[in-house]
């Protein structure tokens, strides 16, 4: 790890002053679980880390009739154990529990989960988000078993690594991004982007901005939500495919549906055709199967990752069955 200087400011205003428009100059430190690995591997070598942990407001969980407000430093452990979240936002609690290492849940934060860098082995090997070796794209001739199956027409082929983003997007959450002068609320659906050139980043947070909180509107009556992740092992691992489902039911019929896939595209992937198919229907296994199939329509596997199409299809089906109480949800 390259040497750097370290600051631990008391306030957001102080923290913002310590940042710069240059990503190599200063980076924000939250839980550190991803950041320190990136620095040890020399993927990045910032000259300064700005620790946010002494900024009180970033640790807060607030809830009322309008919704839930999560400070960026709220840990995944808090998400998975907070009684209000378990009751009103169960999909969020499940998603946090899907990070199946207590150590990572205790350290990892809401903001860090959203801002962690892709796990793509080319990126981690120093070839950048677009996996370029002296201008040549490595992915087309490479081993792509963990790469995107949707939204993968280039030049980016990595998958979004966030555990929380699919369910947050399904819940219509927004991310507050604070800059030196103003703050803005960015819908999770617009928070991530697919880079089109080697100089672009995978989310909209500029180097001199800080993610300060996530705002989740209170689900209306009849809300049902769940996630389903497929991993190689039950213990700590990033999913190969994941799905988040948020539906409203009137009687047993679906009135609104949100279906978002994770780990299959450079951004969380909303499956709108599948959502439309679901509206007006009563969910049973046949419907869930058909909706799962619709969710991966248009998938275009690369070398060695066609298996992910099946995993994503099943993830949607099972998330939908979980959300509607037809498949058990594992407990902590």
């Amino acid at each position: 790890m390259q040497a750097f200087d370290y600051a631990r400011p008391h306030s957001l205003a102080e923290a913002l002053k310590l940042l710069s428009t240059d990503r190599d100059a200063a980076v924000v430190l939250a839980g550190g679980t991803d950041l320190l690995s990136l620095m040890k591997d020399n993927v990045i070598a910032p000259k300064r880390l700005v620790s946010l942990k002494s900024i009180e407001e970033l640790h807060r969980v607030e809830h009322n009739a309008h919704g839930l407000r999560l400070g960026a430093l709220v840990t995944l452990d808090t998400l998975s154990t907070h009684p209000v979240i378990a009751q009103h936002y169960p999909g969020l609690a499940e998603a946090a529990l899907g990070v199946s290492s207590p150590q990572i849940r205790n350290m990892g934060t809401v903001g860090g989960d959203l801002c962690q860098r892709p796990r793509c082995w080319y990126f981690r090997g120093g070839y950048g988000l677009l996996a370029l070796d002296q201008g040549k794209a490595l992915v087309p001739d490479g081993d792509n078993r963990y790469h995107a199956i949707l939204g993968n027409h280039g030049p980016a082929y990595f998958v979004n690594p966030s555990s929380l983003a699919p369910i947050l997007m399904a819940l219509d959450a927004k991310v507050r991004v604070q800059g030196p002068k103003t703050s803005r609320e960015v819908p999770v659906a617009e928070f991530f982007r697919t880079p089109t050139s080697a100089t672009e980043y995978e989310n909209v947070v500029a180097a001199n901005e800080i993610v300060t909180e996530v705002l989740i509107p209170a689900p209306a009556a009849g809300s049902h939500q769940a996630v389903y992740e497929v991993r190689q092992k039950e213990a700590l691992d990033w999913p190969l495919a994941a799905a988040a489902v948020h539906v409203h039911l009137a009687g047993n019929k679906v009135t609104t549906a949100r279906i978002v896939l994770g780990h299959v595209a450079p951004t969380p992937w909303r499956a709108e055709a599948a959502e439309q198919m679901l509206v007006g229907k009563a969910v049973n296994e046949d419907v869930a199967t058909a909706v799962g199939r619709a969710a991966v329509m248009g998938a275009s596997p690369l070398s060695r990752n066609a298996y992910k199409v099946q995993l994503a299809r099943v993830a949607v089906k099972r998330a939908l069955l979980r959300a509607t109480g037809q498949l058990a949800v594992p407990k902590a």
């Binding site: 750097f4 200087d5 600051a7 320190l36 620095m39 002494s54 207590p102 150590q103 213990a235």
Partner: protein, 219 residues
């Protein structure tokens, strides 16, 4: 490991450190009293950047305050092992995956390799060394031995610490809860069966949870 049987105070560890090229010259013992005192009790938060050279910090480990001087880039794990010679927590993957460096931060299990020492100030840190009292092993340690929960033993301190944090929150676990609750630690020897039995034994001393694969413990 650190104590020689003949009591000379010479250890394999110190010897290896001594011959290392470029070993950091500053360690806890070399700080002048003035240097440590001038920073003692200082506010944890500061808007002025520190480093990149060595910075005086204070860590609270196993009930004791330790003053040392480390560069901001030094991880909590490395500060403990290299500067303070508290070597129970092991460095294996150094990437927050294997769990060998597990330690408690304010009672919660974390990976020491994934936190900066300078960022760990103001927290109470407990390593496997801090779980024994008056030379008596923690019940988990005894149970690990009784159930053959280790082979090479390198993952064991991390597993003991992770198991302690797990049982603090889930005092009477089921087998499934143990599997999930220790999901952040790896054993390459594959001693999971013994580890699982040891944790179930400590959590369910009457032996109820051991009799079957299904949930027995009170939730």
């Amino acid at each position: 490991m650190a104590k020689n049987k003949n009591g000379s105070g010479f250890s394999r560890r110190k010897f290896l450190k001594g011959v290392g090229v470029g070993t950091g010259a500053l360690s806890a013992g070399l700080l002048s009293p003035a240097e440590t005192l001038s920073h003692a009790g200082g506010a944890l938060a500061f808007g002025t950047p520190q480093g990149p050279g060595a910075v005086p910090i204070t860590l609270h480990i196993n009930g004791q305050a330790h003053r040392l001087s480390v560069e901001p880039r030094v991880t909590l794990l490395d500060a403990l092992r290299m500067d303070l010679e508290i070597t129970g927590a092991k460095r294996v993957c150094d990437r927050g995956t294997c769990g060998a460096c597990s330690m408690l931060l304010d009672g919660k299990v974390i990976y020491g390799c994934s936190m900066l020492a300078i960022d760990a100030q103001g927290h109470e840190i407990t390593t496997v060394e801090g779980l024994s009292h008056n030379g008596r092993p923690h019940p988990l340690m005894t149970a690990f031995v009784a159930h053959d929960g280790q082979q090479c033993g390198f993952c064991t301190p991390g597993f003991i610490v992770a198991s302690k944090a797990f049982l603090d929150r889930t005092p009477h676990p089921t087998r499934e809860q143990v599997n999930h609750g220790l999901g952040g630690n790896l054993c390459r020897c594959g001693t999971y069966h013994g580890i699982r039995e040891a944790v179930l034994d400590v959590g369910n001393p009457t032996g109820k949870a051991k009799t079957g694969g299904q949930a027995h413990g009170a939730l």
